[in-house]
């Protein structure tokens, strides 16, 4: 199955729900305010948020006027273009050319960090990369075991210490091990934490500092994992995590349900953090690089193939 098919399959349900509404909005109608109002509501229903939805609709309206579009059926094209412009170009992962690339994975509780790491490890291992995992979620019960199961499944080593030990020390160990074993990639799992817990955020800053010290340029990527069903709090998460650990990319998970992941729009718009991956299920292959155009196409134009 090709990459796009997988993406389509995963987003099928979300697409169907959104598409139905959009089709009824667009079909056989003249372009008047009510069309745009409904479009706005549909965007809000996708967790795009009130402000960003209004801005998107305004941009779509401007662009439609510029292109002299008169029928509502022609709006999806405009929508896709406007969304793609907002989302920006695809953002590839940064890699360290001379030594291991260190990836720090952060997020709130239950966002899907550990699962994402398992899938990331699999993706890179399939490319022939040598991957090592750091079990730096030393807080949650059985989090280390969960990562080890993934390590076995994928066939990569997991650096770990006992539960309750210092997560920064685990990251330190993992970077040392990666250097010694000439690994290409170190992926560090961290405990889920709500962004309003200052002491936990300080801990995260410390983990980052240790990585910086042990390897110049590290961490090369700091990925914030956001549950695709998250509402407007996702924007707060992005803002705070960005401030504390300089997030370089977003991973949106659980998009195989009916959630649309619309929260990425305000995150990109207000925080300027690119989306790098999307998660579409619990299988090893269910993680895909984020393609803004595909994402927008899948949302706005369900029937035409790209």
């Amino acid at each position: 199955m090709g990459l796009f098919d997988r993406f389509r399959k995963g987003l099928e349900k979300s697409r169907a729900a959104m598409a139905d509404r959009l089709l009824s909005v667009f079909r056989g109608r003249k372009l008047d305010d009510s069309v745009f109002d409904e479009m706005e509501e549909t965007l809000i229903l996708s967790d795009v948020g009130v402000d960003t939805a209004a801005e998107l609709v305004e941009a779509i309206r401007r662009e439609a006027r510029r292109r002299r579009i008169e029928r509502a059926e022609d709006l999806p094209d405009v929508m896709v273009d406007v969304m793609v412009e907002l989302l920006g170009p695809p953002a590839p992962m940064v890699e360290n050319p001379d030594g291991p690339t260190v990836v720090l994975v952060v997020g709130v509780n239950g966002a899907g960090k550990t699962t994402t790491i398992g899938k990331l490890a699999h993706a890179y291992k399939s490319q022939g990369k040598r991957v090592i995992l750091a079990a730096a979620d030393t807080f949650r019960a059985a989090a280390i075991e969960q990562l080890m199961v993934w390590g076995e499944r994928v066939g990569v080593d997991v650096v770990r210490q006992a539960q309750g030990s210092d997560p920064a020390a685990v990251v330190y160990d993992a970077i040392q091990a990666a250097k010694a074993r000439r690994c290409d990639l170190v992926i560090c799992d961290t405990a889920g934490r709500l962004q309003n817990k200052a002491h936990l955020m300080n801990e995260l800053a410390k983990i980052r500092k240790v990585a910086e010290r042990e390897l110049p340029g590290a961490p090369h990527e700091v990925l914030l994992v956001i549950d695709g069903t998250t509402g407007q709090n996702g924007l707060v998460q992005a803002r705070v995590f960005k401030e504390v650990v300089r997030v370089t990319g977003i991973v949106v998970t659980k998009l195989d349900g009916t959630a649309k992941g619309g929260i990425v729009f305000p995150i990109v718009r207000e925080e300027g953090i690119p989306v790098k991956w999307i998660g579409l299920g619990e299988g090893m292959d269910d993680l895909q690089p984020f393609d803004p155009r595909m994402f927008a196409e899948a949302i706005c134009r369900p029937e035409t193939r790209v």
Binding site: A141, Q146, K197, G231, N233, L235, R239, V240
Partner: protein, 479 residues
Amino acid sequence: MFESLSNNLQAVFQRLRGRGRLTEADVDEAMREIRRALLAADVNVKVVRDFVDRVRARAVGQDVLKSLTPGQQVVKIVYEELTELMGGSQARIRMAPKPPTVVMLVGLQGAGKTTTAAKLALAFRQQNHRPLLVAADVYRPAAVDQLKVLGAQIDVPVFSLDGAGAVEIAEAGLGDAARRGADIVIVDTAGRLHIDDALMAELESMKKVLQPQEILLVVDAMTGQDAVHVAEAFHARLEVTGVILTKLDGDARGGAALTVRAVTGCPIKFVGVGEKIEPLEPFHPERMASRILGMGDVLSLIERAQERIDLEKAKEMEARMRSANFTLDDFQEMFRQVRNLGPLDQILKMLPGMNRVKGLENLDLNDRRFRRLEAIISSMTPEERRDPGILNASRRRRIANGSGTTVRDVNQLINQFEQVREMMKRLTGGGKRVGRRQAMNALRAMGGVPGLTGPGLPSFGGADAGPPRERVHRKKKKK
């Protein structure tokens, strides 16, 4: 972004005030503000629509527009409607006439079912029940281990069956409960998507086998618009009996609570707060209403204070304050009591209006400053603590060295202490009334949070600044 609804509404009506009579269009604008506030809190679009209609009907019926403070009137209506909509809940588990009572926890991945199962078990154990946890999440790696670890922590047995399917485990779990004489069986199930037909069917089979008294839907407080689909689907297939809202210790407004309640009609029975395994807390509709509207949660703050402040010690301290024997030891005890309330940044968030102060999210009001003050006091001899008057330059230097601070820090602490003591004297002396400024300075000294009590809540940037010099001088002049 989190501007509270009452401010926005007040602004709308203020703008209109000058124009004399209010029109239908003016009401529309107010309703738009309400809609916006609820959408920003993640209440589902459809739920919002119905809700706004109800509020409008009431607002028009009650002639709020003739009132002097229409903004506040409307907020009151919104608040009451919200409370009512989410209310009628009972934080109780329906018990089986003949034990065991069976409780099934269901929900999406990552909602917090496993943690919630342990918290629920602990609550029952504390009420002298004999709960059994059944680990029926056979899909997520190490989920069974997680429940076992949590069970061991709270001393509740956990039943698991390697290699078995979820339905089989459920059945065997009931058998195990009978053998152990457990009177409550809490079944943790795997997280699943509501559109995953096979897995939803599995839950139906489990329900058939378990015949549970309660099927509780566990919902993450951060959930957005999709909460409506999740609640609908789970309710349609399983007839959910109640809802547990988790991760409420975060800063999400939690509009999903209203959505889920409106869709299922089921009461929200408990809320989950924090990752540590502590009993679940009851759900308070009126507090949730405040939270959704961004109006702060004073009630929770008061409750926390009542719970965590040691009454005995507080009384003792009060007595000592009255006798004017207030020493640095008591001063230190005061810090400890305040710290017991929890991280300061969280406490501040519960205060009305504080969620509008920019930058508060990241402000590290946490223990650092408190810890420094404690270190300074701990570096003093008992004699010095009783009588700071003997602190000469050399003693101060020693204390600074001992506590890893500077002489300036030590001086600052002594100043603050003197101010508090001064205020105590005035309070207890029955003489002059304590002026607002002294009270403010004393409060500042206590919390070390400048600007907190000041008018207009200015300058949150410098959490380390002491009381402003100028004010200290002025106070001295008065003396």
